[in-house]
Amino acid sequence: MRILRIIPILVLFLLGTTINADAQCKAFAKKVCLPELVPYTHDGNYHAAILVEGEEAELYKTFYSDMEYRVAICGEEKLPNIEFKVIDSNKNVLYSNKDANYAKSWDFKLQSSQQLKLVVKVSSFNQPGDTPASGCVAIMFGFKLKK
């Protein structure tokens, strides 16, 4: 019956490890990603997750014609390059940071308000046999009134 005593401890350990990873993600987003938004005002929303090499995340958001935006996508140092694309409702790619040497941020404004999709992908180190790297990826938005 020793196994029955071990189970709750293991469950607590697993939960604790995951919550700790999430808390680290928040600290990373605040420390590393937030400064990337300056001089824009951070909107206050929080989008971050632990991603593994090759994994992808999508974000849907409406952007308004009165504003200028900066999107910052940050990945922990242990991760390979983070790719991100901005796609409109007709599935046209409007921006890809691959064309800008994997830039961490992109500044844009809109003539008319649009719902856009951001696709964020952790690229791969392409080293078969190795444990895939995993780490926090944060997506943050800053805005300011259009001049």
Binding site: I3, L4, I7, L10, V11, L14, L15, T18, I19, D22, A23, C25, K26, A29, K30, T41, H42, D43, G44, N45, Y46, H47, A48, A49, L51, E55, E56, A57, E58, L59, Y60, K61, T62, Y64, S65, D66, M67, E68, D88, S89, N90, N92, L94, Y95, W106, D107, F108, K109, L110, Q111, S112, S113, Q114, Q115, V119, I139, F141, F143, L145
Partner: protein, 306 residues
């Protein structure tokens, strides 16, 4: 097979199953986990593959209360304190649902007051938001030191906006990171509704055509599906299910508004290092549809703040 060994193995398998569920379910917040679907597709047909491949995480991002308030101000709207949820209502909110919705609502009211430099209201609404955050058990979202910093910088709108943004991020990141995506979603929904409520109430019907604020209200149609997807990622939570029914009622009215957009053309400006996404839009909302929208928003919002 040894019976004892069989029982122990069964327990171990059950444990591993539930442990994997626990870890898998902790994606939380506005993000939802989708199962990987393996489908054979021709390797040269990358476009098809893109459509079939499922993302590991999906974020449905609503405008934050700060962004909503900024949109109202940028449309040239006046400040009207009577439209805000009175801070005297704070003691009415005792359930997680009402505290979450009103954390979003009070944060939007706080943002609105901040942008119009309503110094006493800024302090009052920060305290109201703090009470909601404390009630939800959100640790360190709004500390006394934050209120003190706010008071010290009460005439510095930039610092006030930074504080509002930081406290909101503290709240929603805490909820996301502590496995409370439904509560996090309700906070965002509260803030979004408050922005929409204030906007609809501020429209002057004698100045309807070409009204910039009306334009911003029409834009909210673009977020209604995001809002529904955000809530549906916590479907099954009774409080969220009630809100989904209300939001679907609102969607029926938004569906009466037509928005036609021309293809988007990105144009990069080397001088400002900024890309302009060019496109023309045509919208169509009659005063009758606006009045219907305004009434539905007011009705739903009244159930949130009661």
């Amino acid at each position: 097979m040894n019976k004892k060994y069989g029982v122990t193995s069964g327990i171990l398998i059950l444990f591993l199953f539930f442990a994997s569920l626990l870890v898998g379910c902790r994606s939380g917040g506005t993000k939802a986990t989708k199962e990987d679907v393996k489908i054979d597709v021709p390797k040269d047909n990358s476009a098809v593959y893109e459509d079939i491949k499922k993302a590991e995480k999906i974020f449905n991002a609503l405008p934050s209360p700060l962004e909503s308030a900024m949109l109202i101000k940028s449309a040239g709207a006046r400040f009207d304190e009577t439209l805000l949820n009175p801070v005297g209502n704070v003691n009415n909110y005792v359930t997680n649902k009402s505290m979450a919705l009103n954390l979003g609502i009070y944060t939007c009211d706080l943002s609105f007051a901040s942008l119009y430099e309503q110094t006493q209201l800024i302090i009052d609404y920060m305290n109201a938001a703090k009470k909601m955050a404390d009630g939800l058990g959100i640790l360190k979202a709004i500390e006394q030191s934050t209120i003190d910093k706010l008071e010290e910088n009460i005439n510095n709108s930039e610092i006030i906006m930074e504080i509002v943004s930081e406290t909101f991020m503290n709240s929603n990141s805490y909820l996301e990171d502590n496995g409370q995506p439904a509560v996090a979603a309700m906070v965002l929904v509260g803030g979004w509704f408050e922005g929409l409520y204030i906007s609809t109430q501020l429209v002057d019907m004698n100045d309807f055509n070409g009204n910039k604020l009306v334009g911003r209200i029409i834009d909210q149609k673009l977020s209604i599906d995001i809002l529904i997807n955000l809530l549906e990622s916590s479907k099954g939570n009774p409080a969220v299910d009630e809100i989904i029914v209300q939001v679907k009622k609102l969607k029926i009215v938004f569906d009466k508004i037509k928005i036609t957009t021309s293809p988007v053309r990105p144009e990069f400006d080397t001088k400002s290092n900024t890309t302009m996404l060019k496109s023309e839009v045509k919208t169509d909302m009659t005063p009758a549809v606006f009045k219907e929208l305004s009434a539905v928003v007011a009705e739903i919002r009244s159930t949130f703040v009661k």
